[in-house]
C-alpha cells in the first residue's frame, strides 16, 4: 500500500510536468495577454516593450524552462492582472470552491443514494419510474440554464434565498468558510443545488443499477435466509456494495464539478476558483492558468488516490499492492 501511494505520487509528478507544458503551449496558441490588457492609448513601441518585460518574446521552451526554474523554488509566477502571486491567488479562492463542491457532492449523496435505492427496489412502481424520468431531466438541462431558473424562482419570485454571492465567512484553522452561519448557508444553497443536480441524477442512476445488481446476488438471498429484516438487508448488505462504484464515480465527478463550477460560480457570482479561471482565461493570465491547472491536477491525483484508498476500505477484496492498480 505504501508502495502504491509512492508509485502514484511519483507518476503524478510526471503528470504535473506534462500538464504544465500543455498549458503553456495552449495559452501560447490562444493569443497574447498583452493584446487584451494593454491600454488603448499605448503605442506599438510600448506594446513591444511590455511584451519584452514579460519575456513573452522569448521562444516558448525558453519561457517554460524559466517557469520550471522558478517553480522549483516555489514560485509559480505572478498574475499579470492581479499583480499577486498566482498560486496564492488560487489558494485564496480554493476554500470557496471546495465549499461549493463538497456541498454539491453531499447533496448528490444525500439525495441520490436513497432515490436510487428506492428506484432499484421498487422497479415497477410509479415513483420508481418517476425518479428515473426526473434523473434524465437532471442530466439534460444545461447547468447555466438551471442556475438562472433557480435564481428566478427562489430569489426573485419567492425571495427566500439570495440571488448570488457568498455569505459572511468565519475562519476555521485560517480557512475562511461560510457554511457556519445561517446567512452563509442561505448563500450556499442555490449554487450548491445547481451544481448538485446533474450529480444527483447520476448517483441516482448508479445507485439504482447497483441495487438491481446487488439484489440479485446470492448473499442477499442468504441474508434473507438468515431472517434479517429488509431494512438491514438494504441498509447494510446492499448499501455497502453499491457504494463502491459510487465512490469511484464521485471521485471522477469531483473534477467535473470543479469544471462546471466555472459556470455555476459565474451565474451565482460565487468568488471561487472557477470564476477566477474563466476570467483569467479571458485575459490569458498565464501564470494563473498554469497554477490553476497544476492545482486542479494535483487535487485530481489526490482525490483519485483517496478514492482508491476508500475503495480498498469499502471493498476488502481490492489489494492496492498490485502492480499499477487503478
Amino acid at each position: 500500500m505504501i508502495a502504491f501511494v509512492l508509485r502514484r505520487l511519483m507518476q503524478s509528478l510526471i503528470v504535473l510536468l506534462a500538464m504544465s507544458l500543455l498549458v503553456f503551449a495552449g495559452v501560447h496558441a490562444i493569443g497574447n495577454p498583452v493584446d487584451v490588457l494593454i491600454s488603448p492609448d499605448a503605442s506599438q513601441a510600448e506594446r513591444a516593450q511590455i511584451i519584452a518585460a514579460f519575456g513573452l518574446d522569448q521562444p516558448l521552451w525558453h519561457q517554460y524552462i524559466l517557469f520550471l526554474k522558478n517553480a522549483a523554488q516555489g514560485d509559480m509566477g505572478t498574475s499579470y492582472v492581479y499583480s499577486t502571486p498566482a498560486f496564492g491567488l488560487i489558494l485564496e479562492r480554493l476554500p470557496a470552491t471546495m465549499e461549493l463542491a463538497v456541498a454539491a457532492i453531499l447533496i448528490a449523496i444525500v439525495f441520490g443514494i436513497p432515490l436510487g435505492l428506492w428506484a432499484g427496489l421498487k422497479l415497477d412502481s410509479v415513483i420508481g419510474k418517476a425518479i428515473m424520468a426526473a434523473s434524465i431531466l437532471g442530466i439534460s438541462l444545461p447547468t447555466f440554464w438551471v442556475g438562472l431558473m433557480l435564481i428566478m424562482f427562489f430569489a426573485v419570485q419567492l425571495g427566500w434565498l439570495p440571488a448570488g454571492g457568498r455569505g459572511p465567512t468565519t475562519l476555521i484553522f485560517g480557512v475562511p468558510v461560510s457554511f457556519l452561519s445561517l446567512e452563509g448557508l442561505r448563500h450556499l444553497m442555490l449554487p450548491a443545488l445547481n451544481l448538485a443536480l446533474a450529480n444527483v441524477a447520476l448517483i441516482t442512476r448508479l445507485a439504482r443499477a447497483g441495487t438491481l445488481d446487488a439484489m440479485q446476488q446470492e448473499y442477499v438471498k442468504f441474508a434473507r435466509a438468515k431472517g434479517l429484516s429488509s431494512a438491514r438487508i438494504v441498509g447494510v448488505h446492499v448499501l455497502k456494495n453499491i457504494l463502491i462504484p459510487i465512490v469511484t464515480v464521485l471521485a471522477l465527478q469531483f473534477g467535473a464539478i470543479i469544471a462546471f463550477s466555472i459556470v455555476t460560480e459565474t451565474v451565482f457570482a460565487w468568488p471561487g476558483m472557477g470564476k477566477l479561471i474563466i476570467d483569467s482565461i479571458r485575459v490569458l493570465d498565464r501564470p494563473v492558468i498554469v497554477a490553476y491547472m497544476i492545482l486542479v491536477a494535483t487535487l485530481f491525483v489526490l482525490i483519485n488516490l483517496a478514492a482508491d484508498l476508500v475503495y480498498s476500505l469499502l471493498d476488502p477484496r481490492v489489494r492496492l499492492a498490485g502492480g499499477t492498480a487503478q
Binding site: 500500500m1 505504501i2 509512492l6 511519483m10
Partner: protein, 336 residues
C-alpha cells in the same frame, strides 16, 4: 524418468512462480516497512512429466495444487519460470516460428468452466469457426459447414449454429468447448476439469465423447480432475499433485490399488462412492496448507498422519516404488 516411448509433450523439471514485479516505489516501500520478502507463489515446482502419443495422463490433486497452471504451460498460455517443455522431442524455444505456430494449434485446452470459457457475446458458429478461418484451415465460405460437421461430431445439432452460449445446457456448453478445441485439428488436449460442472447423466455423455475422440483422432490427453472416479475411468497413468509438486505417478490401476503416498491415500479415502453402507466419518485433518506458507520439508507433513521428524526438514524425492510407480515419501525407504 522420461523413457516412455515417443512422448508428444514432455515437462522437464518445469517450475512456475508467480511474483509481483517490484519497481522503484515498491523497493522504497519495502525499505520503509522493513519487509524484505518478495511475495512469491511456487504454483508449479520442478515437475517432470511426459505424455505419449495417444496416451491419457490423469492429473489429480486438491484445489490450488497447480494442475491448471501446469496445463496452461503445456498449451503455451504461460511460460515456465524454469525448466523446458519438449514438443515431440524438441525443446519449445528451439522451434522456429512456423513450428511454434503449429505447436500452438496442435496443443489445445478444454477449460474448466464450460460457461466462462465461451465468449457470451459470440455465436457458436464464430466461437468454433473463428480460429480455423483465421489460420486458414478452412475457407470463410465453408465455415458454417465445417462448424456444423464439428458440432455433429461432438453430438450437437447443426441447427444450433447461430445460438449464444447461454442458450445451451451445461453439457452442451462443454461440447462446444471441445468442438472449439478440436476445430484447429490438435494432437494433444489439455482437459481442465471438463466434467466438474456437469450433471451426472451429462457427465457420462461427455466422458464417452472424449473416449470416442481419442479413438477416432488419436488424441493424447492431459486430463486434469479432482474427481478420482472419472480419472480412473479415463486415464492410462495418473499423476498426483500436491502444492505444486508431483507426489506420485503410477499406472491407473496400480495407483488405485496400491496408493503409496499418504496424500493419495487420503484423497482416495475421501472420494465418495456409490456404495451404500460405507458411512465413514473422516476427522478434520487441518486446513490445506497454502502456497505462501511452505517453508521446508515435505509439503504434506502438517496434514500427514504418518509424518516423522525428518518430514519437516527434508523434501522427499520421487522414487520408483514399483515398475512405473513413483512416489515421493520418506516412508518408502529410510536409507538416504
Amino acid at each position: 524418468m522420461s523413457q516412455h516411448p515417443n512422448p508428444i509433450l514432455e515437462f522437464d523439471d518445469v517450475s512456475k512462480t508467480f511474483s509481483q514485479p517490484v519497481d522503484f516505489a515498491g523497493r522504497i516501500a519495502r525499505v520503509m516497512t522493513r519487509n524484505a520478502s518478495k511475495p512469491v507463489v511456487n504454483a508449479v515446482d520442478r515437475v517432470s512429466l511426459s505424455v505419449s502419443h495417444g496416451e491419457v495422463v490423469g492429473l489429480v490433486g486438491e484445489s490450488g495444487s497447480g494442475k491448471s497452471t501446469l496445463g496452461r504451460i503445456a498449451v503455451g498460455l504461460l511460460q515456465p519460470s524454469r525448466g523446458t517443455v519438449h514438443w515431440q522431442g524438441k525443446p519449445l524455444e528451439q522451434l522456429d516460428n512456423e513450428a511454434s505456430r503449429r505447436k500452438q494449434l496442435a496443443a489445445q485446452m478444454v477449460f474448466q468452466d464450460p460457461y466462462a470459457s465461451l465468449n457470451p457475446r459470440m455465436r457458436v458458429v464464430d466461437i468454433v469457426g473463428e480460429a480455423p478461418v483465421a489460420h486458414g484451415l478452412v475457407q470463410k465460405k465453408d465455415k458454417e459447414t465445417y462448424v456444423a460437421d464439428l458440432l455433429q461430431k461432438v453430438g450437437l445439432d447443426a441447427a444450433m449454429l447461430q445460438r449464444f452460449p447461454h442458450q445451451f445446457s451445461g453439457g452442451q456448453r462443454a461440447r462446444i468447448g471441445i468442438a472449439r478445441a478440436i476445430a484447429v485439428q490438435p494432437q494433444f488436449l489439455v482437459c481442465d476439469e471438463p466434467v466438474a460442472a456437469l450433471d451426472v447423466s451429462v457427465q457420462a455423455q461427455v466422458i464417452n465423447l472424449f473416449m470416442q475422440l481419442r479413438a477416432e483422432l488419436g488424441l493424447s490427453y492431459l486430463f486434469i480432475s479432482h474427481d478420482l472416479g472419472v480419472v480412473r475411468h479415463m486415464a492410462d497413468r495418473v499423476a498426483v499433485m500436491y502444492l505444486g509438486r508431483i507426489v506420485e505417478i503410477a499406472p491407473t490401476e496400480e495407483l488405485f490399488l496400491r496408493a503409496n503416498h499418504p496424500y493419495t491415500v487420503m484423497l482416495l479415502a475421501s472420494m465418495p462412492v456409490l456404495d451404500v453402507g460405507q458411512r465413514r466419518a473422516i476427522p478434520i485433518a487441518g486446513e490445506g496448507t497454502s502456497m505462501e506458507t511452505i517453508h521446508s520439508g515435505c509439503r504434506f507433513h502438517s496434514r500427514c498422519p504418518h509424518a516423522v521428524p525428518r518430514c519437516q526438514v527434508d523434501e522427499p524425492k520421487l522414487r520408483e516404488v514399483a515398475p512405473g510407480h513413483w512416489s515421493a515419501c520418506h516412508l518408502n525407504r529410510q536409507d538416504d
